[in-house]
Structures are given as structure tokens and as C-alpha cells.
């Protein structure tokens, strides 16, 4: 401790206590994750790693392989697009069923019991759909329909259907509901109230969220390839397992470019919509 009061830290006790507590918490975490980063550089791990890394340059550029990568890249985008299309087919009906603003009985106080029950059931189904990760859905569907893009499309459709359905009804319920309530109260059907009241108000926001999710779906369709759901990921997985560094490097570059492209396209679209 410093004797000079001007230089003494009044909070030193607290600092030492919290540092000690953090270290105490950190220790079991380090043990649980077997955190020994020096394994990366130790004798028997180093040889194959260095060899693998050295094969990264030059990236594989044979025409056959580039053609294959282009094909798989398209399939990755196609899986994401098809998945999002099917997700919309889940999300839109679910939104129409579960959005509180579209309830006729809720106009006069509380929602009728059967309607409220149906709404709750739909919401729970959406929660279930989106809380199981898409990778797990893909593992399940690979068992049922076999390896290939079908499993990937279905996995994206279910998870993203759950997410989109939830966010759509949040968006619809957060806006100004005056026009919609007016239409409903004057005898418009629920679908009419949706098409002429809610949709024009929220179309830009709904579209921009969908585009953002499409971008996310491209990312996850690459990941889904690792469990055998087709596309760039599957190719990346098999090249990694064969220690073909050049091919891995090419595909990583293509992948980074693809994500950047989707990022820019979606940012541009969202700006255009705003």
C-alpha cells in the first residue's frame, strides 16, 4: 500500500476481491473446456497442421474444380431461397392466425376463449419450430429423406418459418392499429383488414426483415452442408477431411465473397425499401 494519500487507490480492496472472484470462476471453465492452447503447437499436432496450412497456397483453380464450386455455390443460394419460400408458407398463415390486431372479438375487450386458445397454440408451435436449431432439424431430415438438399431446404423452412412467424406478428402488432380496427369494426373481413389496413403500413418493414433473414439463410445453408444437406458446406467438409488445402482455400474465399455479396445485396435492398 502506498503511504501517500494522493496516490492511494481507495477501491483497491474491491478490485482485488473481484479479480479473485473472476479467476475463481475462470478456473473451472478452463478445466471444462480442456483449454490447453499449446496443444496447437506441440510436437505431434504441429506436423500435419503445418502441412495442411502449406497446401492452402496456391488455391485450387483447375477449371473442373471451379465449375464444381460454382455449381455448389448456386445450390447453396438455391437451398436458402427455396427454404425461405417454404418458410413464408409457414409464417404467413401462422401470422394471420396469431396476430392479435386481426381478432374481431378483441375489438370489444377480451379475445373470445377459442380464438385466444388457437392463437396461443400457434405461438407455441412457432416457439418450438425456432428453438430447435436448424442443424438439428437437418440431422433429423437427413435420416428421413436421405443425404441431399431436401433435408437442408426443410430444415431452413421449419426454423425460419418459426422465426419469421414470430417477428411478423410482432411487427404487425407494434404499429398503429387504427386503420385496421376501423376496417374490422365496419364489417371488413379479417383478410380485407389485413390487405388494406395492416399490409400497406408495414410492408417495407416486413420485406426488409425477410431479406435480412434470407441473408442469414445463405450463411446457415453452408453450415447445413456439414451434416450432409448439400451445397458448399458438404464439399468443404469432404475437402477438409481429405486434407486438400488448396480446395479448402478456394472454397473459403468463395464463401467469404458470397457472404459479402449477400450482405451488400441485402443492405442495398433494405436501403431502397426504407
Amino acid at each position: 500500500m502506498n503511504a501517500d494519500p494522493a496516490l492511494r487507490d481507495p477501491a483497491w480492496l474491491g478490485r482485488i476481491f473481484w479479480t479473485g472472484a473472476a479467476l475463481l470462476l475462470l478456473w473451472p471453465m478452463l478445466v471444462a473446456t480442456e483449454f490447453r492452447p499449446w496443444v496447437l503447437f506441440s510436437g505431434d499436432g504441429r506436423g500435419p497442421t503445418l502441412h495442411f496450412l502449406s497446401t492452402f497456397v496456391p488455391p485450387a483453380t483447375s477449371p473442373d474444380f471451379l465449375w464444381l464450386v460454382a455449381h455448389e455455390t448456386w445450390r447453396t443460394v438455391a437451398i436458402a431461397t427455396a427454404g425461405i419460400t417454404l418458410a413464408l408458407m409457414i409464417a404467413i398463415p401462422a401470422t394471420l392466425l396469431s396476430a392479435r390486431v386481426l381478432s374481431v372479438s378483441a375489438l370489444s375487450g377480451r379475445m373470445a376463449t377459442p380464438a385466444a386458445a388457437l392463437r396461443q397454440v400457434v405461438r407455441w408451435v412457432l416457439v418450438l419450430l425456432r428453438s430447435i436449431p436448424e442443424l438439428v432439424w437437418a440431422l433429423v431430415f437427413v435420416r428421413v429423406v436421405g443425404l441431399g438438399p431436401t433435408a437442408g431446404v426443410l430444415a431452413i423452412a421449419l426454423t425460419y418459418g418459426g422465426m419469421l412467424g414470430k417477428v411478423y406478428s410482432d411487427i404487425l402488432e407494434s404499429g398503429d392499429d387504427h386503420a385496421t380496427r376501423n376496417l374490422l369494426a365496419n364489417g371488413g373481413s379479417r383478410l380485407q383488414a389485413f390487405a388494406y389496413g395492416l399490409l400497406p403500413q408495414n410492408a417495407a418493414e416486413l420485406t426488409s426483415y425477410t431479406v435480412y433473414r434470407w441473408e442469414c439463410a445463405i450463411r446457415s445453408s453452408v453450415v447445413l452442408g456439414f451434416v450432409g444437406a448439400g451445397g458448399l458446406g458438404q464439399q468443404l467438409d469432404s475437402s477438409t477431411k481429405m486434407f486438400a488445402g488448396g480446395e479448402v482455400a478456394t472454397m473459403l474465399l468463395v464463401f467469404v465473397a458470397l457472404v459479402a455479396l449477400a450482405d451488400h445485396a441485402s443492405a442495398w435492398l433494405r436501403r431502397a425499401l426504407a
Partner: protein
């Protein structure tokens, strides 16, 4: 050219609805492009709807789901799942912690703090951060398995690498967007760069950085739960192991544990956020 003012007609002429397609209408081209993209996607993927929608497939699906029950709740297995859950939790926490540290270190060269700052390292550092961010955790894990071997270490490092990219970018934005006044005041007094950072910039942005890191931690728990599918430890490894052996009761238990873990963490972080914002 000035627009010609037409006086309003006494009787408003009956307006035709606008034509559906117009070559100058951007939204029309966009819609056409969208339809083409969707149709081409479905057409080019050899989707096996037959295999999925047939009676045979629905029967195998029903059998598959039926095998999930009863859940395997024997004490030994539950203990194993508990250990794997803790491992997942530790992976996500440590990965996020490492990422917060290295993200901050990379965010400093990636941000331009004042107008006179040449920030020569800004563009290359941002490129590095973008590359780290663009490769998903699972791909990092698959690559790291070669040098780190099977187990949670590869998963932790994979989470750390991807999250470094995300957090570094966010931290850099936060640092660039802080009010420049306090830092400028110190700088004009001749205080060095490091001390300007420690006494002006960092105290201003610290709450924001912490909240970003907590938010990413929430995301990383979900990611850590599935990283094991490629062999990087945690619940995912248990899941793919038992699913590979078709032990569906055990698979269902692991799935349940995953859902519970995510739900508990969500509730916890919601509570912490409520507590902090009060």
C-alpha cells in the same frame, strides 16, 4: 423545364388503374427477378418431395419420432448430459471472453478516433475482422479439429475466432461513434495515445461494449450447443454420437437438455438486462 400547371377539370376524368408492368418500374423488375430466382431454385435442386411426402416417408417419420419416447432418464446418462451442458456453457463463456479481449485489441487499430488520425491499419484490420466474421463457427471448428483434435478446445477457439470478427467490428463502430470532446481535451494537453484511450475513450464506451459482449454470449450458447456435431465437444457431440447409433431415447434427452439450456440462459439474460436497465 417548369411543369405545366393544368387547371383541375370540372369533372374529374375516370382514372384507369396503373398498368401492372412498366419497364421503368424498379419494383416490377425486382418482383420479376425474385420470381425467377425462386423458380430457378426449386427447379435446379433435385428435391425429393416424393420421398418426403409419400406414405412410406411419413410412416418412417412417425416411427422416428415415436422412438424418441421414452426419454432415457437413467441417473448415469442424466449426469453425463449435465456434464456436457456445463461443458457447453463453459465453451460459450470462455469463447466470448477471449473474443471480447481480442476483439477490443483489434478494434483499436480498426477505428479512426479523431480527424488527424491517419489510421493506416484501419482498412487491413477491418478486412481481417470481416474475414473472421464471414466464416461461421462450425466451419472454423471443422478446420481447427485438424490441429486441436476432437474435444471442446476446438469448439472454444472456433467460437472465439468468429466472435472476434463480430465483436471487433461492433467495438470499432462504438469507439468511432463516441463523442470526441473528452479525448480531444486530453490530446491538446499533450497526453499520449494510450492514456487518452484509458481515461477518455474506454470509460465512455465500456457499458456499450459489455452489453454487446453479453448479447453475443447469448448467441454463442446456441452455437456451442450444435458445434459438437462436427466433433468439437459439448451437447452437440453427444447428440450426433447417439443419433449416429440410433439411440433415440438418449438423443431425445440431449435435445431436451439443449432446449432447457437455451431457455434458462435466455431467461437469465432477460433478468440481468431488466436489473441493469432499472
Amino acid at each position: 423545364m417548369k411543369p405545366i400547371r393544368v387547371p383541375p377539370a370540372a369533372n374529374e376524368p375516370y382514372r384507369l388503374p396503373p398498368p401492372l408492368f412498366d419497364a421503368r418500374c424498379k419494383a416490377c423488375w425486382f418482383s420479376v427477378g425474385l420470381v425467377v430466382l425462386v423458380v430457378a431454385s426449386f427447379w435446379s435442386l433435385d428435391l425429393q418431395w416424393g420421398a418426403f411426402l409419400s406414405l412410406d416417408a411419413s410412416r418412417s417419420m412417425a416411427r422416428f419420432v415415436g422412438e424418441f419416447f421414452p426419454l432415457d432418464l437413467s441417473a448415469a446418462f442424466v449426469r453425463k448430459v449435465g456434464a456436457a451442458s456445463l461443458e457447453t456453457l463453459a465453451m460459450s463463456a470462455l469463447g466470448t471472453l477471449l473474443a471480447a479481449g481480442s476483439g477490443l485489441l483489434l478494434a483499436l487499430p480498426a477505428s479512426r478516433t479523431h480527424d488527424g488520425d491517419p489510421a493506416r491499419a484501419r482498412a487491413p484490420t477491418r478486412l481481417l475482422l470481416n474475414a473472421l466474421r464471414a466464416v461461421p463457427e462450425l466451419v472454423w471448428a471443422a478446420l481447427l479439429l485438424i490441429s486441436a483434435g476432437l474435444g471442446p478446445l476446438a469448439g472454444t477457439l472456433a467460437l472465439a475466432l468468429h466472435t472476434t470478427g463480430v465483436l471487433g467490428r461492433l467495438f470499432a463502430e462504438a469507439i468511432e461513434n463516441t463523442p470526441h470532446g473528452p479525448a480531444a481535451a486530453l490530446r491538446t494537453q499533450g497526453v499520449g495515445t494510450v492514456r487518452v484511450l484509458l481515461y477518455a475513450t474506454l470509460p465512455q464506451v465500456l457499458p456499450q461494449l459489455i452489453s454487446y459482449a453479453l448479447y453475443r454470449w447469448e448467441n454463442n450458447i446456441r452455437a456451442a450447443a450444435i458445434l459438437g456435431v462436427v466433433g468439437a465437444g459439448g451437447l452437440g457431440q453427444l447428440l450426433s454420437f447417439h443419433m449416429g447409433l440410433f439411440q433415440m431415447g438418449k438423443t431425445a434427452t440431449v435435445l431436451l437438455a439443449m432446449l432447457l439450456l437455451v431457455a434458462v440462459v435466455d431467461a437469465l439474460s432477460y433478468a440481468i438486462r431488466r436489473l441493469l436497465s432499472r
